[in-house]
Symmetry: C2
DNA sequence: TTGACATATCGTAACCTTGCGATATATTGA
DNA sequence: TCAATATATCGCAAGGTTACGATATGTCAA
């Protein structure tokens, strides 16, 4: 059983694992879910996630830092939105996989 | 902007996050990738992942413990296989999402 | 300019994960 | 039974992640 397989490059796997680690938090999944419905300001996201604003900020920063979200200031508020268009599909895929555990 | 959204139950999000955390490791992604091609014994998986057998064992145990993999002993070796049929699709989805970062 | 609101950043302690080495268990054939 | 092979389990130290509270920065309207 020494046949060799064609495997994904380790770099790609590391990148994928990094991306998953960023998603692997209930609050952050919730944020992605919320932002699938449109742009929202931090305090609104925090409220929907039932988190203190500062914590929501931290999570949003992490997601943005990995290119999953983006943000734009509009006056006093900062609106976050999904930056990677494939994210919604991934979230749906995650749901259908994990629910069937 | 106080309209309410229909959100996924927190329990489901926690379960999904847990599942993602388990997948969020390059070696474990590699293992899923390998097992998408069939059943393999621990030492072979370890070799393909370039890991010591004991570490491969640990990772496999984690994946199995979360219902993602399953195993059967055949004589001296233990063959691991994918237990959740949706896993391959998830891995492909992850790849296409994360590559486009 | 000041106060109020919105967001961002940071330090810290508690907790979790990882890699590693040591050891234990299981199976087979000599 | 004994040695060899295969797998599993465990303890530990190092490093990473989290929630939390404190504080800083940015924006606007009075």
């Amino acid at each position: 059983m020494a046949k060799e397989l064609t495997l994904i490059a380790l770099d790609d796997l590391q990148q994928a694992a990094e991306c998953l680690k960023v998603m692997a938090h209930p609050a952050r999944l919730r944020m992605v879910e919320i932002l699938m419905q449109g742009k929202y300001p931090v305090h609104e996201i925090a409220r929907l996630c039932e988190l203190p604003d500062a914590q929501a900020c931290d999570h949003l920063r992490l997601l943005k830092g990995h290119g999953l979200l983006d943000s734009e200031r509009q006056g006093r508020v900062v609106l976050y939105r999904i930056a990677n268009p494939r994210l919604p599909k991934l979230l749906r895929c995650i749901r259908s996989t994990c629910e069937a555990d």
